[in-house]
């Protein structure tokens, strides 16, 4: 129990104490306490804040290398190198990042760790900040990683504190399941002090039998890994808990364990046995045997998505010939989509336990419009996307990519994974030569996965336009630097400009244009579309949010714009087509919100009535 007293607010302070932490901050704090010396990551919601904290710690305390890697694949490989020098490593990425890093992940388990490796993986049931809700814990099974399932912020800290020991004792890398609801959970957490000494540098010691994982040696290492996992499985009782007695039980992992307990409280059924799995892979059958010993003959698994948990548990019960019938809240085939809500869980649990409920579970509000994120006022992506849609008309094809440019309302014809814009577009251009094709890619995605895609387009003679949207940051996740970000904007000391990278990949048709000059963007786009081969248009403009923070006086001093109501014919170009949120519809007239406007001037350039005027007066002409 936490003692009374104000919690400490600095999550990275040296001292032991009670800290108000998010799940993300708790993972970073645990890594520092565990003596992690290497932290690598590619930013991705919901887990970006872990590495942000590690970078802060690295600059405050030294002895720790923390980096925003170019992509997740490199991040995990680099951490593997650190591990093989005996240095403890933390890697964080969102769920789709593990798809990118799956090769290094699979080989790390075969070859084994030296310094412990922990991977914090940001799952996103409901795809609140993702293009998919993939449950990548399935990959842990294929790759034979250990999966830990903390359910509270304190458990994130406590589990992670032990995770590097577990990884080193067993030689197996450890994945910590961090769904959005846990990353952004906040609680007061009891924490130990940071070590007095910074982590020591390591030394690479050759281990050919482990690291040169080829042929018969790969098979042998696979066998060794299985033996290691069996040893881990036998220690499942250190992570799993059973409480309660009765014939019908609930099983859950992580956040869903607390959901199960609270559902039972609201059903006044707190005696029902609950198995809370703190380790979901490998599954320890002793946990199921403990449920049977508690009197259970039937169990319902509370889980989300595709039955990762229930299928493993059903297999374990079958293999052990346990008299326990296990079903899943995800349905008879264990397949479900979308997040598990409290109301849905309660209804299903009540039916399972045979408890009658007559509650309507609250008043349902009418259908209210969503409030998704959209382009900020002054976004440098607005003009190129406006021009692309205009240039393509009804029949052209537009391949979009991950990042701020994917935000509504500027919808592309597809949006899947990193690199999919140009990747798919080159196939479309080759398969459908009669259609105009434009692809776009943000600067960070360009470095992350665009480089080989561009090279492939060059090598195969793709005939299309690629628009690189360069806002100079990984803006979507909070302005982390890209390999192109200069030192003044928080980047490294040897930035690689996009044009330079393109030339190195063999692109010869490259045009640079400033985002806020719409006429120029339109002109260069039209010119490029008329030329054969792969044409690249680099449209640059520093993210306006970042610029506003870096140089607020520059935006404050810039020319302002106002809509003159008498001239405005409500053509919709600025308000609907450009969709600038600083332009408000007051019913009788449109008005520019001067607090929200960042003076980019794009509305003036699209206005068909010449109703938008620049002004430098201190008095707002709309009020005059």
């Amino acid at each position: 129990m936490i003692q009374a007293g104000a919690p400490a607010s600095d999550p990275l302070a040296r001292e032991a104490g009670d800290y108000l932490l998010s799940g993300n901050e708790a993972l970073a704090r645990a890594a520092l306490v565990a003596g992690v010396g290497f932290a690598s990551s590619y930013p991705g919601s919901p887990i970006t804040e872990v590495q942000a904290a590690m970078l802060q710690a690295a600059s405050r305390y030294g002895g720790l290398h923390a980096e925003w890697s170019v992509n997740e694949h490199v991040a995990l490989h680099a951490a593997t190198g650190a591990s093989w020098c005996g240095v403890r490593a933390l890697v964080t990425m969102k769920q789709v990042g593990l798809h990118v890093a799956s090769d290094p992940a699979a080989y790390l388990a075969y070859a084994g760790v030296k310094g412990g490796v922990v991977l914090g993986i940001g799952l996103d049931p409901g795809a609140t900040s993702s293009t998919g809700e993939f449950d990548v814990r399935w990959l842990a099974r294929e790759m034979h990683w250990i999966v830990l399932e903390p359910g509270t912020v304190q458990e994130v800290y406590d589990f992670a504190r032990r995770a590097w020991d577990l990884s080193e004792e067993t030689g197996v890398p450890v994945m910590i399941d961090m769904p959005t609801g846990l990353c952004h959970q906040v609680a007061v957490v009891r924490c130990s002090a940071l070590p007095a000494q910074p982590p020591a540098p390591g030394r690479f010691v050759p281990d050919v039998e482990s690291f040169v994982n080829v042929g018969a040696r790969a098979v042998k290492n696979h066998g060794r890994l299985i033996a290691r996992l069996r040893a881990v499985r036998a220690k499942g009782n250190e992570w799993n808990q059973v409480a309660g007695t009765g014939p019908k039980a609930l099983i859950a992992a992580g956040l869903h364990a607390s959901l199960a307990r609270e559902v039972l409280r609201t059903l006044d059924a707190t005696d029902v046995p609950v198995l809370a799995l703190g380790m979901s892979h490998p599954v320890d059958p002793a946990a199921l045997a403990a449920l049977v010993a508690a009197g259970a003959t039937e169990a319902l698994v509370l889980e989300e998505l595709d039955g990762y948990l229930s299928l493993g548990l059903q297999a374990a019960a079958h293999q052990q010939r346990l008299p326990l019938w296990i079903s899943s809240i995800s349905g008879e085939d264990g397949l479900a989509h979308g997040p598990l809500t409290f109301a849905a869980a309660r209804t299903r649990v009540a039916a399972f336990l045979g408890i009658a409920t007559n509650d309507a579970m609250g008043v349902v509000p009418p259908a209210l419009p969503d409030r998704p994120g959209t382009f900020c006022p002054g976004c440098s992506h607005r003009s190129p996307l406006f021009a692309i849609r205009e240039a393509l008309g009804e029949t052209g094809v537009y391949g979009g990519d991950i990042g701020c440019s994917s935000l509504p309302p500027h919808a592309s014809d597809w949006l899947t994974c990193m690199g999919s814009g140009l990747g798919i577009a080159q196939g479309v251009a080759l398969a459908s030569p009669g259609q105009k094709v434009i692809a776009s890619i943000g600067d960070s995605t360009f470095y992350h996965s665009g480089l080989p895609v561009v090279l492939n387009a060059v090598q195969n003679g793709a005939n299309l336009v690629l628009v690189v949207l360069d806002n100079q940051y990984v803006a979507m996740t909070g302005h982390q630097p890209t390999p192109g970000t200069d030192a003044a904007r928080g980047g490294g000391h040897s930035p690689v400009p996009i044009a330079q990278a393109l030339r190195g990949l063999g692109v010869t048709d490259i045009v640079d244009v400033v985002a806020y000059d719409l006429a120029r963007v339109r002109f260069e786009l039209a010119q490029a579309m008329a030329r054969p081969g792969l044409k690249v248009l680099i449209v640059s403009g520093e993210c306006r949010l970042a610029l506003g923070r870096r140089e607020p006086e520059r935006i404050a001093a810039a020319v302002r714009y106002a809509i003159i109501p008498e001239l405005c014919g409500r053509c919709g170009a600025c308000h609907e087509e450009l969709s600038c949120v600083a332009i408000q519809d007051l019913g009788s007239q449109l008005k520019i919100d001067q607090d929200a406007c960042t003076r980019c001037g794009l509305c003036l350039q699209v206005c068909t009535d010449k109703a938008i005027l620049p002004f430098r007066f201190t008095t707002d002409p709309e009020r005059a």
Binding site: S9, V188, R371, T374, P408
Partner: protein
Amino acid sequence: MTPSEPFNVVITGMGGQGVLTLGRTVATAAAAAGWRVTGSEKRGGAQRGGAAEVVLRLIPPGGPAESALSPAVPPGELDLLVGLEPIEAWRRVALTSARTLVLLDTTPVEPALARHSGYRTPPFEEVRAGVASAGARVVALDLMADAKARWGQAVLGNLVALGWLAAAGALPFGGAGLRTAAAAALGAKGMHEAAWAHGEALTAVQAR
């Protein structure tokens, strides 16, 4: 609510309104008063005009373990709902019931992309009725727009809200800690005495 049950709070609004800071201030004050705190912060896309929300489950001494509380508030079990933007509060009506107190800003803000759907932002009284439809007691105050008019910064509406919550006794652990926590969260420079005092004074207006 019996004394050992958690006190459930939702603070909701738009990115940039100070929802997360308000949430951390309440959480810090609760912890300082000896309550345990768990909850969640929703911030995805918030800085781009998206919605932001904080859920807090404040556990009194002797209350249940954090691991027995779901991150979401069960329907009907919300004790305090602060809507810095009233349409966002309406979305959470399923969590409210007769036990809920709602502090509601009076200016609905059109969702950024509603212009493409033909949605018309409802007048405040319609939103208010929706928020109250599960039986909650609703106190409507002009927080953000009034703060913008008075001090030039809408975000100070947060401090007005905090001053009101403290003076109205809307939180079960006393209001003094809120002021300390607000000063710590915002720094001496950010702590705007006039906004706080205005919030306190508004409780008198409500009482009449």
